[in-house]
Symmetry: C4
Subunit: 230 residues, 4 copies
């Protein structure tokens, strides 16, 4: 079994053999979809102030992601602002630097075989992840909305949304993300404390749906008084 | 008198004699209106994560409904994503499966002679229906907004919004819905616990207005402290 | 001095001598502006479910108002849905019935020489007017936003927002509105209990600004805990 | 060292030597960007009722700002509604009066060498600045969103958001703003009590990002119960 530490070493080691960008049409199409989703999240106030980042796998062998470059105003997001990165976060196409959080996207893609990874930064997730940090996570149970999560068939499902301590050391954080994904198989997302939500899906549509569902349920918790009872 | 159980047996029994889709122009016009309403509800956050479903009667004899197919992103809803179903939820036109909740739409159309049925899934309805579940319903009284409900002439009206336990067995749930509609004549909608609102109207415009009114009043209750006093 | 009672008798007595509609270009231009404002308020959730109504004076001698006809979806408001009414609420132009609340608009136009009257029906105003009804009003003081009210020069201004008991007898209510406007000169609006806000201005732009300011301040009060302290 | 008092005297003294407007293309481009940003803030409810004002430096030598004229509906803001003012708030281009708060913009531009200054007036900032006024400011700490502030590299940063008493004497207030900016170097914005937020940036994009970040964090504080604990 690959340990989390080994895995992130693999991320840090650059594979120099593959240096060809993925299919251009695919890249542009995916970038267009990601940009549209990003502008929608901005309208809802989920990625203000250049927060948030979005990626989707455009090739598996070799691994290639379309991903937002760093520091963008998500309200004016265009396909031209996306980068193509390889499995070590090297830029294969596009101008600009990838976000430091690109290694988290890669850790998630590897850890749960995601086809797309979306990171939002809403008021609800910031409030909840701060208040509930000492419980290391939040339980979501009994809500019909849970059925929209891939593989969930009933509202009686109990979804655990882990909360990880925030960090600026992205390699260390990627390691912790990988470990947590191994320890809690079947989760659909996690929170970084006072930072926001990471979720994913087999397809980009799945990942977008997961964002909406988890943001909705966090808003439900906040308005149900989850803060007072934290 | 037909019992609830008999009625839902009738739904399960397919009437094979009528297999002709309704008028195409009517279907498309209704699907267009439903799609526009759905996109508007999505913008307000009332049908996130593929939640919600919408239908309207396009023919009475034989009974035909235009209804959303299952699993759609309501923010990008198009007329082409609607199905025509018959009185037993068989698809007469269109691609895709109807939502499992189609039998609820049919139960409502039969139970209250509705011309349109709209199901939303808002934060307010999720919060309220959870907190007030043990009262089996919520009373709405004294609000001018109540006058927008069909047949209500004064703000002094007391509207009872029943709360039904949620279920994944749609035939069983349809039976309960039918019974509840018989027991509480005159209601304009009901809540499924931690799931959302079903409302209806003689016309689609009536049903849309009822969604807005009931969502508004639930938001008023939440912000008036109805949770603390549940 | 005309008493409130005399004044509303004057409203009820039809002046038959003037039966000519006002200038068409003016009417259409005003109806266009009112429709645009109404659609904007709908987007903010201030006139859901066909609630709200809007008017502007298009002629002083004889008195003519452009006003929404009753029962309209404000999200799809068009200039063609406006009526021209005279000083007794008779329809001089357009199809449809005026809202029963047209007599309130007329009472306000006469009482404070308003050029435009706007009625919204927001969550905040419904919540606040219910909770604070026994105080007969709400005080707004210390807010910079108050300076946007016509004639107010400092945030130290104390604005009194009267709350009137709601009624379905519009003639009786119009009388009470007229009396209250006489008793509390200088107010910029009032609330009907669990119903909503009426405000006005010399121009339509003034009235729109007053809606935004008073809705903003009511939202501030609700979020500052005004409910708990009511 | 120039004292705050000297500095504001400099503002009041008109420099008559420079009377040429800045480059027209620059002015129009900047006004276009400011107008677009303003309409976006209006949509979020941050500049209702003609509140808020926006400026950007279009020339350093001589100092020239593009700035909103007073009393505008920010939802319909156009480039033609901007003025060019000099270092003493004299209008060099455009119709209309500058806002009385233009001297605050000038004080900020001088005090922190800002390239753009944006003033919003949200519900959150009004609520928070009222409740926390006696602490003379609000601390923001531990939030990932802080990293979007220019020069901040970690969520562990502690941002102090000063609260100044509101005033209608803009010259006096500009003096206090200048003093406060000297006393608390490194702040990214400040609140006027029950009035709103002033923030700035080297570029207009920086200032817009700072508005979004600080508005977001104030909303987080309000929803985290900062009012109850004030």
């Amino acid at each position: 079994m690959k340990t989390a530490s080994n895995r992130s070493k693999a991320i840090r080691m650059q594979s120099s053999k593959e240096r060809v960008p993925a299919n251009s049409a695919t890249f542009l199409q995916v970038a267009e979809s990601l940009a549209e989703i990003g502008r929608g999240f901005y309208a809802r106030g989920w990625v203000l102030g250049t927060s948030g980042n979005f990626s989707a796998v455009i090739s598996q062998e070799p691994l290639r992601l379309a991903i937002t470059s760093t520091g963008l105003d998500k309200g004016a997001l265009t396909p031209g602002q996306f980068l193509e990165i390889d499995e070590a976060a090297n830029v294969m196409r596009g101008d600009g630097r990838p976000s430091a959080e690109a290694v988290l996207h890669l850790a998630i893609v590897r850890g749960v075989s995601a086809g797309a990874v979306l990171h939002t930064h809403s008021v609800s997730s910031t409030v909840l992840s701060g208040m509930h940090a000492r419980h290391s996570g939040i339980a979501l149970e009994g809500y019909e909305m849970l059925k929209g999560l891939t593989g969930v068939a009933t509202h009686k499902h109990r979804e655990w949304l882990p909360i990880l301590e925030n960090s600026q050391d992205m390699v260390e954080l990627a390691d912790r993300v990988s470990s947590r994904l191994e320890q809690t198989p079947g989760v659909h997302g996690f929170l970084l404390q006072e930072h926001g939500l990471y979720t994913w899906g087999e397809s980009l549509a799945d990942a977008k749906r997961h964002v909406e569902i988890l943001e909705f349920l966090m808003e439900v918790l906040v308005r149900s008084g989850a803060i007072q009872n934290a």
